[in-house]
Symmetry: C2
Subunit: 608 residues, 2 copies
């Protein structure tokens, strides 16, 4: 099973849609030249294609094995992680002062996406480690940073996030792992954490767990949660590894997908280690602010999981496309001498283009979001920073929720394109379908993203950010109108339909935003009954916006005489998006605006 | 893992929507009294709940094992099949003269649905056997019927359908298994068949394969395919089993789901049996008419697979609903003293009701179709028969395509409702998600159903059947209008929205039918590019029609003073369908009508 990074599409989205050139001019990125970016992306593609992509099937069929608390990962994973560390990939997005490369998010984003596409299960270990590094750099003490960050960043150690407990999933108020302060200022932790990705493994010599727990005097609920560092092996002052800490992997989960990623049940304080009873932990930042700190990791992780959706969609698409171009079945609909490849059949084309258009749209949204992140942190103008930060914050739940829900759809279509062969595990399409299913769940379910999008990102600023997007979309709409008028007959109908459907979709989106704002205080249940449809609507319309921009750029290159088939393909995909995907906005908006009836009918149906 | 048949909803759909009383009055069903139907459904529920449902997980985790050409099925399956045979369940829908019970389809349908819900993997063996019985009774010779039907019907033997070959999936023109006539009138078959459900197993003493093959002089393509009986063991004149025939199971497939069902690669004519080289086969009916005969089985099987979608949706819903009512996480949105079960959260309610509403709508469509089948075969008036036959034929691809695509969505929502637990295999939701994925593929993919719906069922009669549905829907719309006017405030908004959305959905459907008829001869690719959206549109609208009828019936019972919570629930589910599911019709219709642009953009995007 081969995988090729979508190099052209990544460059197009970076340069033409997300404005890479503008990002590289921001203060702090002076040393990041376009040539350097190109070199990084090329090397990244080479690395993931050669060292990681071939492991994807093995991760699925030879999952990690637990024995007596130890976990042996899939054959090949340890070498790939060593190569990953040696290549400096863990440091891509982190500051140079700590040994990283300090690249813009807009550059680390495609690199992350590529490794996720190569092997989703493998990529989770570096992703979690990224989150731990980011949390420590943001809220850790100087001593903590020095003790952990260089080794995490160098790939000697890895990191985990410990939130979930059996009774506390999405609702962290229910966390009850205990942390008791010791005379030396450290803490002893006891409790059980579940769903800990790479909670135990043999890829690195130490594992740094970030753990949510409660001190005995903490208030109930989320305001009584603190964040602790709990290393698997304590770290001596000279940096060498010390005693084995009292944190143990009790078992691994038997999961639907991402088999290659060990999902651990961790026991804290069972008394089995070298340290007596209770896992030794160190408070990060201030007491009772753990949830706030964890969100530092979560927001980055949410963006990354959104990219996983894009990555998995891309891989599923490539597999399906290759199959469809190879499999000979049936005559062409307009008649053909013999049977043709199934890629000629209208419904296979519809499925493949749905996969491709959703993938490209989600990728474009995520890169535009990454650029907004970079402008939000690096732009010299405070007003520009604030505006971009708000835009990024608005887009994060869309990147997470829309890209991952789309990935489930895309992976499912990938199975369907293969017909009966898709249901046979050896074909590979089924693995994508299984792997994809975790994406709308972990790092906050789609509903949690949607509640965030409605509450914190739409209602809190009175819709300002959403309406700003709408205004910008209407500028693109105007450009599209002018462009359609100049098109020749073959493309005019498609451009006009894209324009008309984009226009309708913007109105549908606007009326949904209006509805939320008008009903938030009087009918909160009605508003939240439509939160997921609202997120999907925002995703479809923002995706349509980027595809419309892509169409305009492609038309310009073609008008300038380019014979590069890439632009023709991109234009076709954008027109397909206009014809087949933008119409989803109509139904989604109607369901958002039906919130009161939805809520009343749920009560009538006695669903609770 | 328990499963309870949805007894009330089945009765409601049978009696109130499909008109069971009217069916039981048809000539030929005189002996089928309402009491008998009730007794059968009760016994059926008891049987599947006790004997079959507990096997569903074992089928998944302990799949059949192949060794040296023999297949040992999941522990418990053999006993359940013996019980199934002893209970006379195989004979439910078959004629009394052959030992069956000759029940209307409207009665065998829910019985089949229940066993499919209990264990999809188990149910496939009886389903395939049903198809073989039906084919033999329709086109087999009297001698063939006598030789095979009684033992198939009694559960002593089972049957299979052998269509697919490695190079011939949906495109049966490519079949090249060879059948050479012998001096005694029998044939010798050689070739390879794949994806043969229950092609080898230990549930019965003989297996009767129905095999598509070509005689040496046959014309190329589908007009040169003949149908043959190939028993695993030849049958002596006295009915005893004779020589082991030359058909062998080379391997079983490693599948995404329905693990309990052995999917065999069968080799015909490898020379290993007691009969010399070539599997002994007997021509069914006339030479070169095999495909036509196979469609006898296929149409019944397509309807059954549609019911599998409903069955699997029901089971996934029950599991998710139970979890949501048990799992305590988060506060109620309007505030609550402590955490509440997740079934109180608006988005969980939206997911659960989407699952329930799609399941109930699909069930209602399928029973209405079964009633049309019974009227189409048994009504004394030829005109009524013809009209109902056309309606049934129109509904079959919808029952198959819409119910199974919905099942994939419902099973996916079932995972999502469980959050992280949904991704853990032991929870059971993941099995439904995996099992569901085969449904839109086997017995003709959704695209094949959709092409059938467009070509043979809509275009061929100039839209007459589709427009007849539309006219009948508008009668229901009128009734709904009157009813909404009489409703009190709590229900009025929901009824009005159901009415308005149903009205819009009918228009959306009508305009799609118009589009297909107008463009079929000039733009065939454009028409078929929208075939699957058209099928899904027809499904959503026909489902809305039945849910609207269900709302009217429930309102009548409630107005008459019924305090049965069933009617309140049903009304709530119907109003939810109106608010949340009928709006899908808007986008689907727009995509159908965008056929020309879709086709042009696919060409531009160079997808082939």
């Amino acid at each position: 099973m081969t995988y090729t990074t979508p190099a052209r599409d990544i460059r197009f989205a970076l340069n033409e849609l997300a404005g890479l050139a503008e990002i590289l001019k921001l203060p702090g990125f002076e040393e990041v030249t376009p040539d350097l970016v190109e070199a990084i992306l090329e090397e990244n593609a080479r690395f993931v294609q050669q060292a990681v992509a071939p492991l994807n099937v093995a991760g699925d069929t030879k999952p990690p094995v637990w024995q007596d608390g130890k976990v042996t990962t899939t054959p090949g994973f340890a070498q790939a992680f060593a190569d990953y560390a040696a290549g400096g990939w863990q440091g891509l997005q982190h500051p140079q002062q700590w040994g990283g490369q300090g690249l813009p998010h807009l550059v680390s984003a495609p690199a992350g996406e590529n490794i996720q596409a190569a092997s989703l299960a493998f990529s989770l270990c570096p992703m979690l480690t990224d989150g731990v590094i980011e949390a420590l750099l943001t809220v850790g003490s100087e001593a903590q940073r020095r003790a952990y960050v260089p080794n995490l960043l160098g790939g000697k150690w890895t990191g985990t996030m410990n939130l979930t407990e059996p009774q506390a999933g999405s609702d962290l108020a229910l966390v009850n792992t205990r942390a008791v302060k010791q005379d030396d200022g450290s803490y002893r932790l006891s409790g059980q954490k579940i769903f800990i990705t790479y909670g135990e493994h043999d890829l690195a010599e130490n594992i740094i767990h970030l753990v949510l727990a409660r001190t005995p005097d903490a208030p109930a609920g989320v305001k009584g949660i603190s964040l602790f560092i709990v290393p698997k092996f304590l770290v001596n002052d000279d940096g060498s590894l010390g005693a084995r800490n009292d944190v143990w992997c009790a078992s691994l989960e038997h999961k639907l997908g991402i088999h290659g990623s060990p999902t651990a049940v961790l026991l804290y304080g069972s008394g089995k280690g070298d340290v007596g009873e209770g896992a030794v932990g160190y408070l990060v930042g201030e007491q009772n602010r753990g949830l706030e700190y964890m969100f530092i990791m979560m927001n980055a992780a949410r963006y990354s999981v959104g990219q996983q959706g894009i990555a998995l969609s891309e891989r599923a698409y490539q597999l399906a496309q290759a199959y469809a171009r190879d499999r000979v079945q049936g005559r062409a609909i307009e008649g053909s001498a013999g049977p043709v490849t199934i890629s000629h059949h209208p419904d296979v084309q519809r499925m493949l283009l749905t996969m491709r258009a959703l993938t490209e749209a989600a990728r474009a949204i995520s890169y535009v979001a990454a650029a907004a992140h970079d402008k939000g942190t690096h732009h010299p103008d405070a007003e520009v920073r604030a505006r971009n930060r708000a835009f990024y914050e608005y887009l994060v739940p869309i990147v997470k929720g829309f890209s991952t829900e789309s990935a489930v759809e895309v992976a499912s279509l990938g199975v369907q394109v293969h017909g009966g062969m898709g249901f046979i595990e050896e074909t590979g399409a089924a693995q994508h379908y299984r792997d994809a299913r975790i994406l709308p769940i972990y790092e906050g379910t789609t509903a949690i993203q949607a509640n965030d999008l409605v509450g914190r990102k739409t209602l809190r600023d009175g819709g300002a950010t959403a309406y700003a997007s709408i205004a910008a979309m209407r500028d693109t709409l105007k450009a599209l109108e002018g462009d359609a008028a100049r098109a020749d007959a073959t493309e005019r109908d498609g451009l006009r339909l894209l324009r008309d459907n984009f226009d309708q979709a913007i109105q549908a989106y606007e009326s949904a935003v209006d509805y939320l704002l008008q009903h938030a205080s009087t009918h909160p249940r009605a508003v939240y009954a439509g939160s997921v449809p609202y997120l999907m609507l925002a995703g479809i319309v923002h995706g349509g916006w980027q595809m419309a921009r892509a169409a305009l750029v492609s038309r310009r290159y073609l008008a300038d005489g380019s014979s590069d088939p890439f632009y023709r393909n991109k234009l076709g995909t954008a027109l397909f998006y206009g014809a087949q995907l933008l119409p989803r906005a109509l139904g989604l908006s109607a369901t958002v605006r039906a919130g009161e009836v939805t809520d009343a009918s749920a009560a009538l149906a006695d669903i609770a």
